[in-house]
Amino acid sequence: MAGVQVANVSRSFGAHKALDNVSIDFADGGFYALLGPSGSGKTTLLRQIAGFDFPDAGRIAIGGESVERVPVEKRRIGMVFQNYALFPNMSVADNVAFGLSVRGEPKVTIAAEVQRALDLVQLGKLGGRKPHQLSGGQRQRVALARAIVTKPRVLLLDEPLGALDKALRVDMQIELKRIQREIGITTIFVTHDQEEALTMSDRIGILRDGRLVQEGPPEEIYDRPQSEFAATFLGDANIFRGDATGSGIKLPDGTTIAASTGAAVPAGAKASCAVRPERIRISPGAAKPDPANANTLTGQVSKRIFAGNNSTYFVDRDGQTLKVIVQNTGAERLAEGQPVVLSWSPDSTVLIAA
């Protein structure tokens, strides 16, 4: 078991900079998500850590040992691939045994270790099956068992749940987390699914165009995004753009929005504010503003989407459409076309430097 350090890693493919001076520290035993849209470099970064590809510049260390020129087969890592990559000609048990067998471990040891790994992923009885006789979720578990049976220093997962349907994906998220806790292995997990990143990981690194945009615990990134991209890529956000006032921003129409979290932006500079849709209170146009929610705007409901436990209101305000999510508490629902007052606290408003 070991931590992973990535320091100033760059990698180009022709003129395309897939990774641009990325530094990130993965502490021992942590569960990390690398999150980003396709083409953001997250898979390239994972492949550098795995050793399938070498960086043009920078340093990668596993457990304090420099590995940036060590090929994958010597790095002692475990990897789970998006399409599982199970060996079709081998049984489940032989798939899991592969890593121990190429190392020349004695047969008795291999059999015992394989059984333990299969038990851990709750497939103890399916060792004799061939991969094509398994369901997607089972293949996923075999791939995981195969990756951890060799006791790797770090576990790398490349969109491992992408091929599963929604219900199964949630089960596997819980399962994966349980197994990771049980063996305490440093885990780095590539995904483009923000919900997956939020629910599973201790820390998230958001990548965009080959650069690390923000890194930290999920709560911190969600509550205090440092860029419009981070705010809108991880979760939903309403963005207001204007000029910084020192305590918030002033919109072009003169409205001020107070913000008490986020970056310190000197007055007069361009800045934006991000507000999560669930932090905004929506009330009928006649209602009195709530003093605790100092930020107030008026608008008109343009659309309501009912989703059972909550409703999403789209509110038109001066050409901008704002999104508000309201829990279904049994309170009166607002009709489309109705004038409304939106209010929220400066504590829920994050100031972002432009």
């Binding site: 399938f52 010597k74 002692r76 190429v102 195969r146």
Partner: protein, 262 residues
Amino acid sequence: MATTRILEWLGRFYIVLLLGFLYLPIIIMAAMSFNASPFYQLPFEWTTDWYASLSQNDQLIAATWNSIEIAIITTLISTVLGSMASLALYRYDFRGKKVLQALLFPPIAIPWLITGTAMLIFFFGVGIGRGLIAILLGHVALALPYVIVVVSARLQTFAPELEEAARSLGANQWQVTMRVTLPWITPGVIAGGLFAFAVSFDQFVVSYFLSTPGQTTLPVEIYAAIRKGFTPEINAVSTIIIVVSMALMLLTARFFKFGGEK
């Protein structure tokens, strides 16, 4: 309803016609190898005399063994070399790879007559001359492109993540090849080997150019025998070869389920 039935009957008729076209000449030849008359005269009179006299025809038997030996050695060499070449073309990117791949196809299209002449001139030039070694070298050269094409086609269906998965588990290049890649391409390698065997065993033109009177292969020997005067021994030896090669083909198809892979 009526049209479907008519179409169905037309389909069956077509199949029968096709099979007849393919197999009738062979069946007649096989039948004639058991007919007493050397001039294809009917009525049919059962005899195994031609097989008895075939067993006395040392020249034909020697040529048959030559053919079998050369075909087997050609198959082994070209399958191993061809599969290795396909793997290299699959795995590595290098300068001139596209040119090399493009150059693999023309030999299949160049008439054997021309290839044969070229080989004869070349082998004389470098001092190999004619004979069984020259024939063997020629056959390997002819068979290689077939093996590479067939094995490469199979490799196109291989998921490269499988090699990556094996490497991530600590397997070196040799272990990856032997335990992951080779098992996947085996049907392609077998099919390529069959092609190589067929190219060599059927080969007349190139063998004819490269053989010497004492050292020759079966097709060349049959041709020479027919020119001297046809004997039903040729029917007999052909029948034996057809039976053996069909049995081989059926066995391979049975074990490797071409096209029916899951």
